[in-house]
Symmetry: C2
Subunit: 357 residues, 2 copies
């Protein structure tokens, strides 16, 4: 049976002051009125059903996650005792799926992206699932680049292997690290490189085989957790073993050296909304180039991103800045330096202002 | 007897979002932890006693004023039914003083300035009061300019008339409108022009005589209010007459054409803190030129003014801006355009966001 696994373990320091320790990015709405994790659920559930949709998150946010997606069975929220990066996260989910469905095929995707043209999106996921059901291997989705982005990793595709409906499945030639701008420009032109969207499809068995082959220690830990599922000991084993799991990303740890990898190139609107400036990708700017959310009042200002989660914000005579305000935290940053929000969060920790973390 | 009259009728739209309709500027602390109106009270009360200190404010803020200065008799807060500018305000106070003290000499001063060297300040006030007790006339205090300020009116002094302790009393030659920058530069050099601080001294009788001479209609209205004082009809008469009083400033309406005017030049630190950028005059900047109040965290930023009334504010990579945040309102402005806060308040009115007015 087909399942969807939503990875919702992010900490989201890049979205302070809107995101907090106990309200990471996936609980923000950003571009709509619905939290991202719920948007993601609504995007995939029509394909596999709510009962086959799973969300992996940390214990801290499990309850909030269940509240955001009340129509999903509570047990489908898999709570990691602590974050151990995405390889462990995906492995944990596959063990859980196999426990209920030995033939499980799963689509794995992040909780905190914004994606348009949802019918086409689901159509591509269905094609991916069908391909791995038939052919095995680990399948990735590559977004055709719309700009020479230097902040993403790329997938370089090889020959076409199959055609499923509107979609072509290619061999994946290689993963490419974040390129410099000149290289990124050639990627846009040549059409062989696609953004790695962090969306995957595979048979749970195939994924765990790759884990056993490449990361045997991780596989061993996951197997212990898997063997305890459903027993009275499950939680104790999880709490004991999970913190010892190898901490490595899905891309580095598994995908880059997997035996068989596919890519389906896709073109629907996609953004990982990685930081405040990325809101420009998912919200429409007004005639002055301002992107505004909430009660915002701009005078003689242009090309700003201004987001209110409560307060009335007024901006006068400024351009190319980001303003984000909640009742207890305000960020005002030059757009080019938005990535330093992480430093802000660290400094807030140092200063002991815990209630705004 | 000597009295002090604190004029606290300002509306303070220039300090949004900290100032609001029912919390005008004089209730802000700005440079210390004490509201300006209370700072002003504490500055003058040692000279005349709390029982001879009076505050004129509007009915909307009378209660807040009494709470800010609980040691002053409640009846010393004179509540205008509505603001009618400073000539009416000073006249109302003089009528009230004469009702309890026919020989009243009064020092009149704004509630919302910041003044240093308080002993010297009080010494100058005492000298001014002594001079008008002896010689009559209306006396002004002129601040020696420390910079070529084009935002203030100036007092041009004439010959010295008397010397009282450390202080020289000059004839006031004329009031000078806000100068251009070249003229302001000559004022700093020549030493004959002083900032009009809006601080005055006179015998209440002398002031009301000038009102009768120059603004007979205003005098007539004030006399009606004065005649009703202490009677059962006092409040009704005040409510009926006050809104009809001529609306004109003390400077234009009375001072500029008064028969006898004096000026005592003074040099203590003084600021009318007329807008957010003026905080630089009364707060110390850090080594990056940042003036900060409250929980503020600046990275790679300089020459900003950042004021928090609650939220943690983080500023990244910006200079020459003003940020002010309360839990429900945030201002982010280019320093040169801070005067447009008034437009913001008007726009907020238009949009109907009444709870942040």
């Amino acid at each position: 049976m087909r399942h969807a696994v939503i990875m919702a373990g992010g900490s989201g320091t890049r979205f302070w002051p809107a995101s907090r320790k106990n309200r990471p990015k996936q609980f923000l709405s950003l571009a709509s009125d619905v939290p991202l994790v719920r948007q993601t659920f609504e995007r995939v559930a029509p394909l596999v059903g709510a009962e086959n949709t799973w969300i992996v998150t940390t214990k801290d946010t499990a309850e909030l996650t269940r509240k955001a997606v009340p129509e999903m069975p509570a047990g489908n929220v898999l709570a990691e005792p602590m974050g151990r990066d995405t390889a462990a996260c995906a492995g944990y989910a596959c063990e859980a799926l196999l426990n209920v469905d030995p033939e499980a095929v799963c689509i794995v995707l992040p909780a905190d992206h914004v994606i348009g043209e949802e019918d086409r999106f689901r159509s591509s996921l269905a094609a991916g699932a069908r391909h791995v059901e038939a052919s095995g291997g680990l399948l990735t989705f590559g977004i055709r680049p719309t700009r020479p982005e230097t902040g993403y990793g790329y997938l370089e595709i090889g020959e076409e292997s199959a055609s499923i409906g509107d979609w072509q499945v290619h061999h994946l030639k290689r993963f490419v690290e974040k390129p410099d701008i000149d290289t990124a420009l050639t990627y846009v032109d040549r059409g062989q490189h696609f953004w790695n969207a962090g969306i995957f499809a595979w048979r749970a068995q195939d994924f765990l085989s790759e884990v056993r082959r490449q990361l045997p220690l991780l596989a061993h830990g996951l197997a212990k957790i898997g063997a305890a599922f459903g027993g009275s000991d499950a939680e104790r084993v999880l709490d004991e073993v999970y913190p010892t799991l190898q901490r490595i990303s899905l891309d580095f740890g598994i995908m880059e050296s997997a035996e068989t990898c596919w890519t389906i190139p896709v073109e629907y609107p996609w953004s990982d909304v990685g930081s405040w400036p990325a809101l420009r990708e998912v919200l429409t700017a007004d005639e002055n180039g301002n992107v505004e959310r909430g009660r915002v009042l701009s005078l003689d200002s242009s090309n700003n991103i201004v987001v209110s989660e409560g307060p009335v914000i007024s901006v006068i005579g400024l351009k190319d800045i980001i303003v984000v305000a909640t009742p207890d935290g305000v960020l005002v940053a030059d757009k080019e330096q938005a990535q330093r929000v992480k430093d802000v969060v660290n400094t807030i920790k140092e200063r002991g202002w815990h209630e705004v973390l």
